[in-house]
């Protein structure tokens, strides 16, 4: 059974309109003649009636010849057959791989949900160049639109997150379009993890060997001394063994930190999906660090709401808190105070740039910031200590690996220089932010802000 195709119906409508227009014009002309006295009253009536009759006849003839099957028997009530096209569409929609169809002029004609998510595409489809500016890809698409075969292209982006993507472009012929017969299909595949794993291994080796060399050298030195002239000196032996133990402990800490850093980096571009209550987490962290707090007689005050849910991996967020609080304890003088405050849900700017609390000398720097997402709301955790503070010029390098603010020796009790790097990478993974405010002599405030779950965000917006 053939359904009336879409282009026949408008045709009838056009005929109907034309017929009515001609009939009306004729009637007006006849009326004018009558008004000027050219025709008698009866002749006018007869002429108008004739025109009306002829037009009706003409209209009926046209409509039946154009569309003879028009009638109640061609109805849409018949059960629709399973449409292979709908099935294909469904498959395309559930495909986890980004697929796009690019039409003439580089316009996006079709994009599956995976592609929309991958490219951050809104509902309105525009030019491909508005969302994907990579020249190699655009060139490949242009070539495909001319109907030529193209090899897959690879591209990498350094911002906002480093990523490496391989793009396959194929040209498709659209049968129904004679003027612009070619379309291009673009399939993207994310190869970031592969490339990243490669580079990570190289980095890890370089860093680790560099940092392990110092304690190893000192170990070797002591062993040599113990074998040599200190062989029979029991007092020296005890002292040396103590130092050697410290050194091995340091190496162990370093290796643990390096491992956790590389683990975090591996899934930096896979955002976490679970939810964690920051308020409860801070409590746990406090319990965990109680011995260190007592050792230096540091008062820890916490100001927090009853619950502060954030999107995040509990273990990783715990690592963030432990690192920051441990740092605060480490760099605080004995008997001073450390304050922790949780605030939120905040807008991006409120979270990133709160009022400076350390006075006029304070400077602030953002060490990690999420891509801008105006709808997002954040919970911020601020940890304030009363330590020596950090000079402005040292702030930018704080989250670098193995960077230590000058004057800090990497002695047995000191950190590995990886803590803040770990924090930064975890925060990056959580699509959150990490800022520091510091004033020499006043202390420092390290802040981390993390996106809240969508449900909480909506509630917060309603209550505003």
């Amino acid at each position: 059974m053939r359904q009336p195709s879409a282009d026949e119906r408008p045709l009838i409508r056009i005929r109907r309109r034309d017929t009515a227009a001609v009939a009306a014009l004729g009637a007006i002309v006849i009326l004018l003649f009558w008004m000027f006295g050219e025709l008698g009253f009866v002749e006018t009536l007869v002429a108008i009636a004739t025109i009306a009759g002829l037009s009706t006849f003409y209209y009926l003839t046209v409509s039946t010849t154009l569309n003879p099957a028009r009638g109640p028997d061609v109805d849409d009530s018949a059960p629709a057959p399973v449409d292979p096209q709908a099935r294909a569409q469904h498959m395309l929609d559930s495909l986890p791989i980004p697929v796009l169809l690019i039409g003439a002029g580089g316009r996006i004609e079709l994009a599956n949900p995976a592609a929309r998510e991958f490219l951050g595409l809104g509902s309105a489809a525009g030019h491909l160049s508005a969302v994907l500016r990579q020249p190699q890809v655009l060139e490949a698409v242009s070539t495909a639109l001319r109907g030529q075969a193209v090899d897959p292209v690879e591209y990498s982006m350094m911002a906002p997150v480093e990523s490496h993507v391989r793009a396959f472009v194929a040209s498709l012929r659209a049968e129904d379009d004679r003027v612009m017969p070619w379309r291009a299909m673009l399939v993207l595949s994310d190869e970031t993890s592969i490339k990243r794993a490669d580079r990570m291994r190289a980095d890890f080796l370089a860093n680790a060997s560099h940092e392990l060399r110092t304690p190893l050298a000192s170990l070797a030195g002591f062993i040599e001394t113990l074998r040599g002239h200190a062989r029979d000196d029991s007092e020296a032996r005890e002292r040396f063994l103590g130092i050697m133990f410290d050194q091995t402990e340091r190496m162990q800490r370093l290796i643990n930190d390096l491992l956790s850093l590389s683990r975090v980096e591996m899934d930096e571009h896979v955002p976490p999906s679970s939810e964690t209550d920051l308020s409860a987490l801070v409590e746990d962290a406090r319990d965990y660090l109680r011995p260190q707090l007592e050792e230096k007689a540091i008062r820890l005050t916490v100001r927090k709401p009853a619950s502060a849910p954030a999107i995040g991996d509990r273990d990783q967020l715990m690592e963030v808190l432990l690192n920051l609080i441990e740092n605060a304890i480490k760099y605080s003088p004995e008997g001073s105070a450390v304050q922790i405050e949780i605030a939120g849900p905040l807008m991006r700017d409120e979270a990133e740039r709160p009022e400076l609390v350390l006075g006029a000398q304070a400077s602030r720097l953002t060490l990690a910031a999420p891509a801008s997402e105006p709808r997002e709301r954040y919970f911020a955790v601020r940890i304030r200590d009363e330590g020596k503070g950090i000079e402005r010029r040292n702030l930018p390098r704080l989250s670098e690996r193995f960077y230590r603010v000058d004057g800090q020796k990497s002695g047995p009790k000191e950190g590995t220089g990886l803590g803040l790097a770990i924090v930064k990478h975890i925060v990056n993974r959580h699509r959150g932010g990490f800022t520091v405010e510091s004033a020499p002599g006043e202390g420092s405030v390290f802040s981390v802000f993390l996106p809240v779950p969508a449900a909480v965000r909506e509630r917060a917006r309603e209550s505003v």
Binding site: A124, S129, L132, R133, Q136, M158, P160, P396
Partner: protein
Amino acid sequence: MALSKTAHIVTAYGEELDQLADELARMGGMVETQLETALAAIVRRDASLVAGVREREKQVNAMQDDVEKRVLRLFALRQPLATDLRMTISALKIASDLERVGDLAKNIAYRAEDLAEYAPLSLLDQVERLGAIVVKQLHEVLDALSSADVEPAIRVWRTDDEVDERYNALVRQMLMSMTEDPGQVEPGVHILFVAKNLERIGDHATNVAEAVHFMVTAGPLEADDAKS
């Protein structure tokens, strides 16, 4: 681009504005790739990448000419008004800024050839970090241009201080290591130029941010405005 989404009575006009936006986005992508390649050439000490950057430079120049021609044509034939006027004017400004960025990227790439002759410097990782920020700035501002969004543009405008800060820190350290070891002077000078060029690119990114801001809001981007 959001601006061209407003339908015009003359569809060809809307089409032309669309194409202008498209050309500008392509140019942006080209420049971005140039900068990334140039940085890779420096950081990975790979002088073979330089030829690609130079090749793109020619394309970028051609694109700038093309954008200018399109703008001229729009003015002559369509007399754009309001949003369209601001968009065309901004396109002109942005294209010239992007062209400069392309030039600077090319200069950076040339330094890679010279630097490859020296032993790797310990400061390279800082250059990489400065470069990463500048790349991010450029990326965000081009995103802002594509989506006609002011907020990221303001953010870029504000973050320029950070670029300057890192640049200053790098120069200071480079000078220090140059005084300690005269052997570092020659490669050090190249590094200083690379850093300077990166800092300049950061400035051009803020220029683009200002142009985007003007295009969307019709007002200049000012300090008090950025804080709100």
